[in-house]
Symmetry: C2
Subunit: 300 residues, 2 copies
DNA sequence: TTTATTGTATTGAATTATTAAAAACCATTG
DNA sequence: CAATGGTTTTTAATAATTCAATACAATAAA
């Protein structure tokens, strides 16, 4: 009928745990102290104390608070389990779009999404509002939301944007000091690439993971919140598209490994021009792949 | 107690207007037709018809709908006026932050903002959710929102990101075909710059407008929804910061004009390297100015 | 007094409930 | 059977409700 009292329930159990550490008949600390312990406001603490008094766990009169008995398991409050459903909403949402190939210009029903993802409606609305900043969805005049991507133009613009960010990252990377952890990650990545190349005939689908790690390593050099925010979306989209598009996967991945290695070589030689050229080449291939995987469904 | 019936009221008035164009005793078209006319669903149309029947404007029996008399002004429904308050919320919000120098790590109260900006709470929540994508605000664990920017690191990262986007735009611009409208805008911009340079001693604060137009012209060459979305925020922030920071404004603006002209020259000469260098120089100055304007309040 | 603590009131935000509107579905008429 | 109207179901906007945080006043301890 109103907001949940999860906070109270959690705090109550945490305070029980704390009381268990106290000796029998011990004095219970001040409300504000308890608030710090349970990381909640005094209001919640008082509600907890109130309940503890009811349950004959403590005697409470003004600032005189005494523990009457040690708390046991039956004192604990039950938690309505709906663990972290809204945590990885973004991940799951994009996954859903790409996995089920949800077409562009589909109207999204907040109510339906809310049911399917097990997330309250208002959270979904906020989430969609956030996505609209990336031009992936938009508000309809009659109310409600509409999925804009994945059109061809969306993919093109996303690829171009990715290229801009990644080339910038490369420029930063060649300038990175020798003791930057990035170089270590790069060497690891090279080894992993070479190892996969050996057994590419059988394990070619392992490339997807390598690819993500590789690009993340490069972008890790750039410490920029705007870039990071976009990178999350970009990598997710490219990642899943590679997973779903099964055409010529083996050849494609083999070629991509070579392209990656070329970039690594140029980076380690501190040759910016060569690294940029290699990256351009690689991202061009990427873009082509992404576009060809859209060819069939996208008529917009 | 629930959603407003603005849609119904607007539709009713629009249908009155439509009925006024009909002759006396005319047949009123089908519900779905009326829905198209007023751009609403049949549900709303039926509510309108129902009311029109009550007011003895029409006779309504199944598909037999007849206009009984011409509608007059007293038939119209009053509109609770709250015209387009939420339209330029973004503009007004950022303006507020910069104008009043709202410090970083300020907790934002949705209720208060809602009152001050005259926008329903849920719209504000969605808006803030959108801004959080740009790292300008974030959710607090205890609920509510917190303003993150304008810290020094935010300004640095924003400037860097702007540089990345703008250099990319320059690269695109030199490649633009001769008949691209951009070249016209650039020439206009050059003329305006030269004109302002003549009377810089008195009209130096006019530069802010010029600056915005200049950068918008350059970025107009890049057709990319992600870039466009960011550019909106970036230009707004830089724009206002220039407005508020009054130190050495005349000298600063004079120098900036020269820098702009250098970029224009290089662009029109189709000299990419020179254009990039000039832009780098200009954006570096920009960044320095932005940072020095923060010097005083920012201790984070 | 001064300071720490509690008691109380006010304000804010998460979440539900309610109503307007849209959409889907079925019935009927010409 | 096609177009239109009646009815039901579903969705989304928004206010109301309740939990929680915070501000402030009162009081006891130092």
């Amino acid at each position: 009928m109103a907001r949940s009292d999860t906070r109270f329930r959690e705090a109550y159990n945490r305070l029980l745990d704390y009381c268990a550490t106290l000796g029998p008949d011990a004095a219970v600390p001040a409300e504000s102290k308890l608030g710090e312990i349970a990381n909640v406001s005094r209001t919640v603490v008082r509600r907890c104390l109130s309940r503890m008094e009811d349950k004959a766990l403590i005697r409470w009169d003004g600032r005189e608070k005494r523990l009457l008995r040690a708390p046991n398991d039956r004192d604990r409050m039950a938690q309505p389990d709906q663990a972290g459903a809204s945590d990885d909403l973004e991940q799951r949402f994009l996954e859903w779009i790409l996995k089920f190939d949800v077409p562009a210009n589909t109207t999204l029903s907040v109510a339906e999404l809310s049911r399917n993802f097990g997330v309250p409606q208002h959270e979904l609305k906020e989430f969609l509002a956030g996505l609209s900043r990336f031009g992936l969805v938009t508000r309809r005049k009659q109310g409600g939301w509409m999925l804009l991507g994945f059109t061809r133009s969306f993919a093109v613009e996303l690829s171009d944007f990715r290229t801009v960010l990644e080339l910038n990252a490369i420029s930063h990377a060649v300038e990175a000091p020798v003791d930057h952890p990035f170089w270590g990650r790069l060497e690891e990545s090279r080894a992993a690439h070479l190892a996969l190349l050996e057994r590419i005939d059988t394990d070619f689908h392992e490339f997807s993971k390598l690819d993500e790690a590789f690009h993340m390593a490069i972008n890790s050099v750039v410490k920029n919140r705007f870039v990071a925010e976009f990178q999350k979306v970009i990598s997710l989209i490219f990642h899943y598209h590679y997973l779903w598009d099964k055409t010529h996967e083996k050849i494609r991945n083999g070629a991509a490994i070579e392209e990656h290695l070329a970039i690594i070589d140029a980076l380690e030689a501190r040759d910016e021009a060569a690294a940029l050229a290699a990256t351009r080449r690689h991202l061009k291939t990427s873009k082509t792949t992404l576009l060809s995987s859209l060819r069939y469904h996208d008529l917009v």
